[in-house]
Amino acid sequence: MKKLLIVDDSKVSRMVIRAHIKAVQPDWEILEASCGEDAMKITQEGNVDFCTMDINMPGMLGTDAAEQILQMHPHMRIAIFSANVQDTMQTRANSIGSIFVAKPVTEKSISIVVNYFMG
């Protein structure tokens, strides 16, 4: 059974992602965090397989948090899920070893993310 961590400062956004994931992977355990720092704490406690990460959050930038988490837990897969769609961000996401998916969250974008996690 897989564990997914959803990181986003918007509660609504976390709810939307959770709902879309549950629709296709009802047995996954889902954790939530509202900032990069909390995300790092939770991944430290162990056993997180996948993570969706927003970029613009108070405190640490999502891409920075993702980079650090991947360094400490290289087995994890992270999908950067953001409204910030410019090339610079997409390139950054790819260079740290994660994928980039544009918001808004749709069935299609969630299936891309799930395929990446499982693939």
Binding site: K11, V12, S13, N56, A83, A102, K103
Partner: protein
């Protein structure tokens, strides 16, 4: 009704951030460099509460872009930047050694386009996420004082509701703060709240 619930405001903030992301992408194509645009917060206020302190841009002269729209609800949108910031933004968008005097020629047009890009992005995000398609006018740009803006806001309904969005814009390493204000009558606020509830209910 008085306002939107915290969850509804969160949903709106999320919608406007998607809009901001799209606007930033369009702007970055024009400027040729990364543009950061975010909507850190959304508040509901009554128009009687608006004064220089609330707007808080540290000036009493603003560059203001207006666009009216109707559809699922009616509203007027006003994008505000401090006037000298507006000129700086235009200069950054044109990314050349243009002098302040030459800028004045282009301020009107360029600010109209900036406002148009941001507003359209927000409206398209609302259409996509909240299923609220809108009909929209072309923008116009004026340099106004806070009183003139308040007058314009109150020209329609008495004590209308305002959706006040704080905007953070970074172009070429220059950070400008602005506001995007949607002026809504109470019926429109109810309609908007219904659409947001529908969106939340479907999650």
């Amino acid at each position: 009704m008085d306002s939107l619930s915290e969850l509804q405001l969160d949903a709106l903030t999320e919608v406007f951030n998607v809009g901001a992301g799209r606007a930033a992408a369009s702007l970055s194509e024009i400027v040729g460099d990364e543009v950061k645009l975010s909507v850190p917060s959304v508040e509901i206020r009554k128009s009687s509460e608006i004064d220089n302190e609330v707007i808080g841009l540290g000036t009493d002269r603003f560059g203001a872009v207006h666009q009216t729209f109707k559809g699922a609800f009616e509203a007027e949108a006003i994008l505000l930047f401090a006037e000298d910031h507006a000129l700086e933004i235009v200069r950054d968008m044109m990314s050349s050694q243009i002098s302040i005097e030459d800028l004045a020629e282009f301020e009107q047009e360029a600010m109209c386009e900036l406002g148009n890009i941001i507003l359209n992005a927000c409206l398209s995000a609302m259409a996509d996420m909240l299923n609220i398609p809108m009909d929209c006018s072309l923008p116009d740009y004026t340099v106004s004082t806070i009183d003139e803006i308040i007058q314009r806001i109150n020209a329609g309904e008495v004590d209308a509701y305002l959706l006040l969005l704080h905007i953070d814009l970074v172009i070429e390493k220059r950070r400008s703060k602005g506001h995007l204000i949607f002026v809504l009558g109470s019926t429109s606020l109810v309609k908007l709240s219904v659409q947001i509830e529908r969106f939340l209910g479907a999650i």
